[in-house]
Amino acid sequence: MKLKLTCDAVELAHPREGAGALSFDLPPGSAMVVLGRNGTGKSTLLRTLAGLDLPKRGTVTLGPQPVAKMPPRRRAAHLAFVSSTPPRGAALTVSEVIELALEAGGHPASLDRIEAALEQGGIAAWADESIDTLSDGMAQKVMLARAAAQSDSVILLDEPTAFLDVVGRREVMADVGAWRDQGKAVVLATHDLDAVEEAGWADRWMVMRPPAKGGSLIVESPFTSDAAKELLTA
């Protein structure tokens, strides 16, 4: 069963000037792009949605439960997180990472499932390589496949394209669209306006701003880079 992520009147613990009270729903099969200048709280929002940070006020719930109070293993089956920097020094092979992701998600880590996940993530060719020997872009692709193999419901992406080339960015954006079509809910924090516009699936986006600059707002219309720039620089 897929769970809905709900953010109810959440005020973030950082930054100090705040980002206003944030309320939104992420039902299965939805995606939201989170934009904002540096230091407006994008990463804090994602960490709060993941239950890693506690909000100053308000609650984040995943299904029936506050996300921060869920047992870590149950939460992992429904929520995965990808940060901007792929891990280094992990000494695991690509297929071992996927095997761990299936375990974390509470799925049987059978050979078939591992192969299917490797295939879906487009990383089957590197299955037996150590992720330490991959480039940042390749390792990030592994981490995206890891998140997809792990979580049934929600995937949170914190600037996943920061180290990627133009093709890599396009692939990440295509992945997000595909996950949404599979019924997963995705939150993508990014500065990569052009790649989002090019992907074409974004019809819900949030601009994070401190209250002094008008506060955060959620726009529900097809994303355009120009409209986003205007709101960001206002």
């Binding site: 891990p87 020094g89 992990a90 761990l100 150590s130 981490m143 949170l156």
Partner: protein, 337 residues
């Protein structure tokens, strides 16, 4: 080495060294006499040599080597630092200070006999190693780089060393001599009781690592990723640091501050191509640690060199090699710590 063959090969090496150690020694007993003494027959002297000296010494080496290897593996995983180990991050120094407080401070105050008194000494070592582990766990988040953590361990080592020197300066001659001898490291100071205690701790540690193996694997991908994969950071931290601290503390209490064994063992296992996941690393690490300890003990017995000298002669080049090869992970230092 092929993963399928590595455990049997390591086990065979360990057993061979154990047998060699059992049937050789300065006493020059005949084979037949040694063999009879093992079943409790023959001259009482031979029985004593076999059952009170050689067997407990070899068992101490096996258990200590395995324990330090496992402690080293846990520390390298937890700190995501290939240079972590009980003797590098100040854990052994903490245990040494604990022992010095009991053995030297106690004797000076007159509430301890001259010889090293085991029970308080074990408590001292455990408290010392435990304190450093807790300190490391607390400050770990403050360090942006892996190098900072190593420097922290080094400084803790200096501080503990300075306090030990102060205690030594004021110590009474008999206690000082016993302490200096202990500090050279040896597997011969134990007996059956320490063997039993270390064995119980080691079995507990092995069970914990087996149950937590996947979580330890996830931890190597970074704290943030691991936490969102279902790792309870607090539980894992206490488990890993506590297990490594108890193992290192117990071994230090009886065998002295053993150098390099904990640091070098996991590296040798990985260099030999053992599996990367912790479930597969566990047995090769235990067996390699035990084998290395038996080998070092053999050198000690044949050449009369102190144990720590032997281990440093082998261990220091391993660390140098690691630092030279460090380029591979130094560029991403900040991310992992």
């Amino acid at each position: 080495m092929n993963a399928r063959w590595s455990n049997p090969v390591l086990l065979a090496a360990m057993v061979l060294l154990f047998i060699a150690g059992l049937f050789s020694g300065p006493a020059q007993l005949a084979w037949s006499e040694e063999w009879r003494a093992l079943s409790g027959e023959g001259s009482p002297t031979a029985v004593t040599i076999m059952w009170q000296l050689r067997l407990p010494r070899l068992m101490t080496a096996v258990l200590s080597g395995a324990s330090l290897g496992l402690a080293g593996l846990l520390m390298q995983t937890y700190f995501r630092n290939p240079l972590a180990g009980p003797s590098v991050l100040g854990v052994t120094s903490g245990a040494t200070l604990g022992v010095a407080l009991v053995a030297l401070g106690g004797a000076t105050l007159g509430w301890m006999p001259h010889a090293l008194n085991m029970a308080p000494q074990v408590m001292g070592a455990l408290l010392g190693s435990g304190a450093v582990m807790v300190l490391l766990g607390l400050v770990m988040g403050q360090f942006r780089s892996r190098t900072a953590l190593l420097i922290f361990g080094l400084m803790v080592g200096y501080l503990a060393g300075a306090l030990v020197t102060v205690l030594q300066a004021g110590a009474e001659a008999g206690a000082l001599q016993a302490f200096v001898h202990w500090g050279m490291g040896s597997f011969s100071q134990g007996g059956w009781t320490p063997c039993a205690i270390v064995a119980v701790a080691l079995v507990g540690a092995v069970f914990w690592v087996r149950r937590t193996a996947s979580l330890l694997d996830m931890w190597t991908m970074g704290a943030l990723t691991a936490r969102t994969m279902g790792v309870d950071e607090r539980k894992l931290s206490w488990g890993a640091l506590g297990t490594a601290g108890v193992l290192a503390g117990l071994v230090t209490a009886w065998c002295g501050p053993i150098a390099f064994l904990g640091l070098a063992t996991p590296h040798l296992v990985r260099a030999a191509g053992a599996p990367r996941r912790h479930a597969g690393l566990l047995w090769p690490v235990l067996l390699t640690g035990a084998t290395l300890a038996l080998f070092a003990d053999g050198v000690v017995r044949w050449f009369g060199v102190p144990l720590n000298a032997v281990l440093s002669l082998v261990g220091a080049p391993v660390v140098l090699m690691l630092i030279i090869r460090r380029g591979r992970w130094s560029s991403s230092q900040a991310q992992g710590a």
